[in-house]
Symmetry: C2
Subunit: 111 residues, 2 copies
């Protein structure tokens, strides 16, 4: 492995992590839903097309683990769970808006 290749690999690494973190289709949708004021898994299920509860819960857990979301469980009956964006999650949201705008240009250009 050349020094040059290594340098480039290290440079791309944070970017790769970022892309991996947003590559899950529903992760982007979840961030979007929270931005729109939704908090509860049942709201995400209604708001996101073709997502099932198992996949949703898996994605939510990964996002909590990655530090994008915080999960709050309320000691009520029936149990209530809410998610919100962390500062890190809000940083992603800003970039997603930029990406969304850029995606519109891509759309026009591809035609």
């Amino acid at each position: 492995m050349s020094t040059k290749a290594l340098a480039i690999e290290e440079k791309i690494c944070p970017l790769e992590k970022a892309v991996n973190a947003i590559s899950g289709k529903w992760k982007i949708a979840i961030v979007w839903q929270i931005n729109e004021g939704k908090k509860r898994p049942s709201e995400f299920l209604r708001g996101i097309k073709n997502v099932d509860r198992r996949v949703l819960n898996q994605q939510l857990s990964e996002m909590v683990k990655d530090g994008l979301l915080t999960k709050t469980s309320f000691n009520e009956l029936p149990p209530r769970v809410e998610y919100q964006l962390t500062d890190l999650g809000n940083g992603l949201l800003k970039i997603l808006w930029d990406l969304n705008e850029w995606g519109k240009s891509l759309d026009n250009s591809v035609g």
Copy 2:
């Protein structure tokens, strides 16, 4: 399909397109290489770790098709081919820098 689901699907669509356009590992690397002044496929091959010529050419073709890159063929012997970012490609590059910075925070947070 409810109106609500449809609205969200449409809203996410440009963002999904954007994510798809950058999800190919070498596409990000290619944009980065061009930003560093590289232009020719042989330079990309040397600069990107573990990429092969066939995959590289496939990615480059897709990026030209998507309007991210322009390809210029010089009528020389041996034939010379150069790629550069379009305005659309440069728009992506700016976002990739933001995503790269964000990826560093993710790294620290994940630990």
